[in-house]
Every structure is written in structure tokens, then in C-alpha cells.
Assembly symmetry: C2
Homo-oligomer: 116 residues x 2
């Protein structure tokens, strides 16, 4: 399984509408990707390494897919539409990363045996 992480860097004055992101943007991605998207998660930045430090990212989402190819074939045809939605909730350009999921959920390790 792979994880596509889309991370919105924090900076003074940056704007981010968390409600729109949760209620419209991610549901749009889900509708367009269909079964190519296993599930997604959304994080809202609270703080950095200490309570006084700003969070490095205002928000992140993580898209879980079976493979890089599954992600590309599900997201690619809708990339233009999805990216055109970004200015509706932020003025920040996101950083993106695709990762291999080494451990999806440690609480499930004993049952799925992925932690050999």
C-alpha cells in the first residue's frame, strides 16, 4: 500500500479554510478517485515540537491507495479539476510525497503479520 501525503506549509499570514478542505475538497477527491482511493486522513496543524512553536504544516491529507499505479490512474484524469479547487481553501502551494506504507496501523500488526 502507498500513501500520498499532501502537506500545506505554514507561514505568517497564510490562509487555510479547514472546513472547506474537510467538507468539500477531500470529498471531491474521493468522488473522482472512486475505488482507486482506499481511504484518506486529514490533519489540522496545532503546534510544532513545543507548544510555542508553529506547526510546520497548516494541514495535511494522506491518500491511501493500493499502489503508485492505482493512484496515478485514479487521480491523473482528474488532477486538473482537483488542483483548480485548491484556491478555494488556501493560498499555499502544497508539498507532495508518495511513501510506501511500512506500517499502516500498529494496532493491527498482530493480526495482519506485516511486522515480521
Amino acid at each position: 500500500m502507498i500513501k500520498v501525503s499532501i502537506m500545506y506549509p505554514n507561514s505568517p499570514g497564510a490562509w487555510f479554510d479547514h472546513d472547506y478542505y474537510r467538507d468539500h475538497h477531500l470529498p471531491l477527491i474521493q468522488r473522482r478517485m472512486g475505488a482507486g482511493l482506499r481511504y484518506y486522513t486529514i490533519d489540522r496543524g496545532l503546534m510544532g515540537a513545543t507548544p510555542d512553536a508553529p506547526s510546520p504544516y497548516l494541514a495535511m491529507c494522506h491518500l491511501l491507495c493500493d499502489s503508485v499505479e492505482a493512484y496515478q490512474s485514479a487521480f491523473g484524469p482528474h488532477a486538473q479539476e482537483i488542483r483548480a479547487d485548491i484556491p478555494k481553501f488556501t493560498d499555499v502551494t502544497p508539498v507532495r510525497q508518495i511513501s510506501e506504507v511500512a506500517v499502516e496501523n500498529s494496532a493491527k500488526l498482530s493480526t495482519v503479520g506485516s511486522h515480521a
Copy 2:
């Protein structure tokens, strides 16, 4: 629920032992935090926004806890021991962020009703 994201920035020549990280470091965190840690996830960076671009982070882990206070009380007493383990798997200084979990797993939204 909150998520503590520990992200190891990528750079040319940076060293990271993914096996040690998965098989020793995260299990150490789990043992020390006990019930204060709901579960964790581990990501291994594959690529950036395009297959040719390096992943911004070599690896990330995400620690899921009930609250910032639950995390601090479970992690704090063991922070020194856990940080002393870092040089065993990398020469990179991680970036840390605490986030509020807006959506933990979209596949569960219809049952838990957290997406009102």
C-alpha cells in the same frame, strides 16, 4: 484525537536505516508509551510530486493519541531515552508536528459520524 508526526527530511547523502526504525525504534516508543499511544503508522518515502523528484522526507511516523496531554504524559518521561536511540538509525534531525485529527479514516466516516 491528535497525531504527532515525526518527519525526517531528505537530503543528498542522508542516512536512514528503515529496518531498525520499524523493528526497534517504533516498538521502543510503543513499549515506553504504553496505553498512552493508541497506535502508530510508518511511511517510507518513495518520491516527490513526480517520480523523478526526491521525496521531501526519507521517512515519517505518526503517533496517534487521545490528546496532547495524553501524549506528553506518556512520552515525556521517556523522551531522553527515545531520542538517544535516534543516532542508531539516522543522521537526520527530524521535524515534528502535533495535529488535530480532523478525519482519522474516511472509510469509517459513515459509521462513526465524525464527518457531520
